[in-house]
Subunit: 241 residues, 2 copies
DNA sequence: GGCAATCCTTGATCAAGATCAAGGCGGCAA
DNA sequence: TTGCCGCCTTGATCTTGATCAAGGATTGCC
């Protein structure tokens, strides 16, 4: 289940996110005691409520963070992939993980013990600043999610999601959905049925979804819709039967 | 507008949140260059998009964090009071504040320059750990908010909010709403009208709201409702006309 | 091939919450 | 005192999204 990191893993880890800006030797020192986890779909990495003893970097694959209510239903908090990290902050507090992390695809995840990092920080405090920067990203992302849930309709959230997949600011583009629609629906706080209908509505502004392929005629229009700019999509977006 | 911290301010600040667990002299060193801001209602502390150069500790009063969309409407992200801090993480990144912070009541807020803290951290890294712990709290709070918005109905969020005001786990209690209902509605992602109707529904399970006074007959029932435990409130909660 | 399971879509219906409109009430200033 | 304004509530209506139900498409397995 757990093994040493390969040279390739190190390459990936040191180039990304959490450790951006640190010297190569510092990064090496940090990840010295790291291990790699190989996961099959549905296997979990940590469980909500477990004492936090480490944080994680995704080397490959997709991972979802979700919370389970006593009533039984799960709420997706975040979906992450290669180069992203999670549970940094809580790992330093000794508290408990507040979400479950589960592999969505086959995945490879680096595990870094918190106590080791704490030692490293005492030795070179710059590490702390790098990690705070990474944590700040997570905060920003969550703040945006709260804003979206409170202020945007389902169709708008879908539009924003599609726009975020598109590399371009405007013009047309063709992208692939990164994971299945049930999961996308969860990410956006919708049921699969509602997501399906949202896609149907977006057809009226030139978005064609076929399985995991999405053709967007005009990305700018998508963004305008997400931003509530009614003039950009006036008269369109009728419900589709 | 900005002045020195009083001895009383120092008392409050050093006892709370961000600096918990640090030695008194360390705290003193950190807040040496801090200033106090006195604010009237509606005055802002920082603006969304401003470069982040400091973080803040609320000494007294209430402060709301909110984001403004290009379309004009505002989304409440968080409402905070005495002893709470904000913008810690982003202050270290040099990025821009991602919400506006505005006084809701008269308020007194301590401002701590980020560059100074960075120097302190290099000198004694324990500060970083204390701050990460505080940031972790913020993360947890946001995660909970996302969960609530995605998984709970408006009435449930209101129930949870009221339950959180009550010191007791169960039994009856009487509390005061901490700020006006428009703001409570914003915090919970509802319109004032919907909040009003949610309160009306809760009357059927023994919650009486009169102006800012709330009488709760059975806090346990509130919590059960928030947690989706239908058996606890079976047959009640009919819409009220 | 046939079968089952999963994913996705579509339709019909229902419930939740937003919106629009109106009115009560309390505080405050002239 | 009067009048105004902002907060709050209530009613009527509309929109959004959830739920329930059914069926098509794909995939994997025997």
């Amino acid at each position: 289940m757990s093994s040493k990191l390969t040279a390739g893993d190190l390459q990936i880890i040191s180039r990304i996110a959490v450790f951006r800006g640190l010297k190569a030797e510092t990064v090496e020192q940090i990840i010295a005691p790291a291990t790699a986890m190989m996961l099959r779909p549905h296997e979990w990495i940590v469980r909500q409520g477990d004492p936090a003893t480490a944080f994680f970097i995704i080397i490959d694959g997709w991972v979802k963070l979700y919370r389970s209510a006593p009533s039984g239903d799960d709420t997706v908090i975040e979906i992450m992939t290669k180069g992203e990290s999670f549970a940094e902050a809580v790992a330093f507090t000794g508290n408990r993980y507040f979400s479950t992390a589960e592999a969505v695809t086959e995945a490879r995840v680096g595990r870094i013990p918190a106590d080791h990092i704490v030692r490293c920080i005492r030795q070179s405090p710059d590490i702390a600043l790098a990690m705070v920067a990474s944590i700040s990203q997570h905060l920003h992302h969550l703040v945006q999610q709260v804003e979206q849930l409170k202020a945007q309709s389902g169709v708008q959230r879908v539009a924003e999601f599609l726009a975020s997949l598109s590399p371009a600011e405007q013009g047309h583009c063709s992208v692939a959905l990164p994971y299945d629609k049930i999961l996308i629906a969860g990410r956006l706080g919708l049921t699969p049925e509602s997501l399906s209908r949202a896609f149907a509505r977006l057809r009226t502004i030139g978005v064609v979804v076929d399985a995991s392929h999405v053709m967007v005629k005009d990305v700018a229009k998508l963004r305008a819709l997400a931003a509530d700019d009614r003039s950009a999509v006036r008269g369109t977006l009728r419900p589709v039967r």
